[in-house]
């Protein structure tokens, strides 16, 4: 009886190891052995995840997740998706995911509570204006006089306060959908989004709106860099950083970016 149990356990261990690319960096460090659990938003939006179905690998963040997983020795079938909110992700304590990808900008303050991977994307900020303000010139002076809105929990807020310094105090909202509603109701003229989101919103969500300009990603203020969010002190971090740096060096990241986040030269730089 004891022997049979032992044999079964051995067989089980063998199969786990076989499924996980013998002795790989991530072995035994994930939430569930042999699985890589990735959290995304609920719902997750285009172009980060297409059709709210990250399992398809379609969309920028879904594609990055599968590329990183494969680099760490996981089969595509071993990638498990869960959903989480922003607050769930940054509160202290144990997480129900290995990494969380929801366009989290890496900030030193956030980094004190949770861990971030090396950045997988550097997003420039872009200005989306409603139908009433599409003729605004892409200059700082013109931008100052607009009535601004932004999502209160993003780094767009300090960007507004420190770089644009609008003459009227901005209105802040809970999520992108509410900012869209406010632009639709003409309660605000313009909003700051990262460029991919702004392009999507103007093309699909808000009729008559336009992306009038983008800030250079390398200007004096910190550009937004997206990192995978992890529990503070997660041992998986070094494996993920290594995978991302390999993917960046061999050009895979750039390829994924080109596929899922189209060339954005149509939007001028703000002077």
């Amino acid at each position: 009886m004891k022997k049979a149990t032992l044999a079964a356990i051995t067989a089980l261990m063998m199969s786990t190891i076989a499924a996980q690319a013998d002795g790989h960096c991530a072995a035994g460090k994930t939430l569930t052995d042999g699985k890589f659990t990735v959290a995304t938003g609920n719902p997750a939006y285009f172009p980060w995840v297409l059709d709210d179905a990250p399992e398809s690998g379609q969309g920028f963040e879904a594609a990055v997740a599968y590329a990183v997983a494969s680099e760490m020795g996981f089969e595509a079938a071993d990638v498990v998706w869960v959903r989480s909110s922003f607050d769930e992700a940054i509160q202290p304590g144990a997480k129900n995911f290995d990494v969380n990808m929801q366009q989290y900008s890496i900030t030193p303050e956030r980094d004190q509570v949770v861990d971030f991977s090396a950045p997988y994307y550097t997003a420039p900020m872009a200005v989306l204006v409603g139908p009433g303000a599409v003729d605004t010139a892409p200059t700082m002076d013109a931008l100052k006089s607009l009535l601004w809105g932004a999502v209160g929990s993003t780094t767009a807020v300090p960007k507004l306060e420190n770089v644009i310094q609008p003459s009227k105090s901005p209105l802040l909202y809970g999520d992108n959908a509410d900012v869209n509603a406010a632009i639709g109701a003409n309660q605000i003229d313009a909003a700051l989004f990262d460029l991919p989101t702004a392009l999507f919103l103007s093309a699909v969500m808000i009729e008559g709106s336009k992306v009038i300009g983008q800030f250079p990603a390398d200007s004096g203020d910190n550009p937004d860099q997206f990192g995978m969010l992890m529990e503070e002190g997660n041992p998986l971090k070094s494996c993920i950083d290594a995978a991302i740096s390999t993917l960046t060096e061999n050009g895979t990241m750039a390829e994924i970016e080109a596929t899922w986040l189209q060339n954005t030269t149509g939007v001028p730089l703000i002077k």
Partner: protein
């Protein structure tokens, strides 16, 4: 009776004084025990240092508090113009529901429907629907301001509650008073205005104080449609610093306002009890 004091305290008074001292000692001892236990035991919890870092961070509090106070002025402003509107509309709805004349029956139906709808829908839904919905119809600026329509949503919801409290106050005035006033030759309107309402309003003042306190907190729901009041400002700090201390700061500011208001409501209620007994 004062004239008995000349003979010194009675045995009963001495006994009662001793009882009072005894219960004071016991109350102090048990309070001190509980507070000391909390101060000693809570930091022993394994996650305390993490919780302290993210919820009770002095540096973050100092950095965010002045801006939170500024943002609280927006709460005060919205409160200041909503509260009188709620009092007036609430009273009108209560009177509509109390209309006696058969010709005014539609008014009663309206009053009932109003209270049913706005008490039944969560405040945040009303704020969203009115705050985004009505400006979405294409109103020009400044008439599409979220301040106007968000405040209207609060006024509608709170009037429904306040109207019900006024109505209970009107019902608390005994029917015989109406009958007596009518028999003196007063009109229905005079009876309501000069006999019933003055008593009804006095009777419900403590209950309405509680509505004011609740309103003071619910003003924060307007943050969902744009205004950067204290809750949103705290949320901005929370996101920037990945720290929940600004929420604790906001809670402190709310408490500074609501605790005195609550004590005052308690005092009014106690005074009313004394007057009635």
């Amino acid at each position: 009776m004062p004239h008995q004091q000349t003979a010194g305290p009675t045995r009963r008074q001495i006994f009662e004084a001793r009882q009072r001292r005894k219960s004071l000692v016991i109350a102090s001892a048990s309070t001190i025990t509980v507070v000391v236990a909390l101060i000693v035991l809570v930091p022993l919890a394994p996650g305390w240092s993490k919780v302290q870092q993210s919820f009770f961070n002095g540096a973050v509090l100092a950095k965010s508090f002045p801006k939170l106070l500024d943002a609280f002025m927006i709460n005060v402003m919205i409160f200041a113009w909503s509260a009188p509107a709620i009092a007036v509309l609430g009273l009108l709805i209560a009177l509509a529901r109390d209309a006696k004349s058969p010709a005014l029956f539609p008014l009663r139906i309206f009053g009932a429907a109003f209270t049913d709808i706005f008490r039944g829908v969560p405040v945040i839904l009303t704020v969203y629907l009115i705050g985004f919905g009505i400006p979405g119809l294409g109103l020009p600026r400044p008439w599409n301001s979220p301040y106007i329509w968000g405040s209207l949503a609060l006024v509608l919801t709170y009037s429904a509650y306040v109207a019900e409290i006024f109505r209970s106050g009107i019902d608390s005035v005994h029917k015989s008073q109406r009958a007596a006033a009518l028999s003196l030759g007063l009109s229905e309107r005079q009876v309501m205005q000069d006999v019933v309402l003055p008593q009804a309003v006095r009777n419900v003042v403590p209950a309405q104080m509680n509505m004011l306190i609740a309103l003071q907190k619910d003003v924060s729901l307007l943050s969902f449609i744009g205004p950067v009041e204290i809750f949103r400002q705290a949320g901005v700090f929370k996101s920037l610093m990945a720290n929940f201390t600004p929420y604790v700061g906001a809670a402190i500011i709310f408490l500074i306002v609501t605790i005195p208001a609550t004590r005052y409501a308690d005092y009014l209620m106690a005074r009313q009890m004394r007057e009635r007994s």
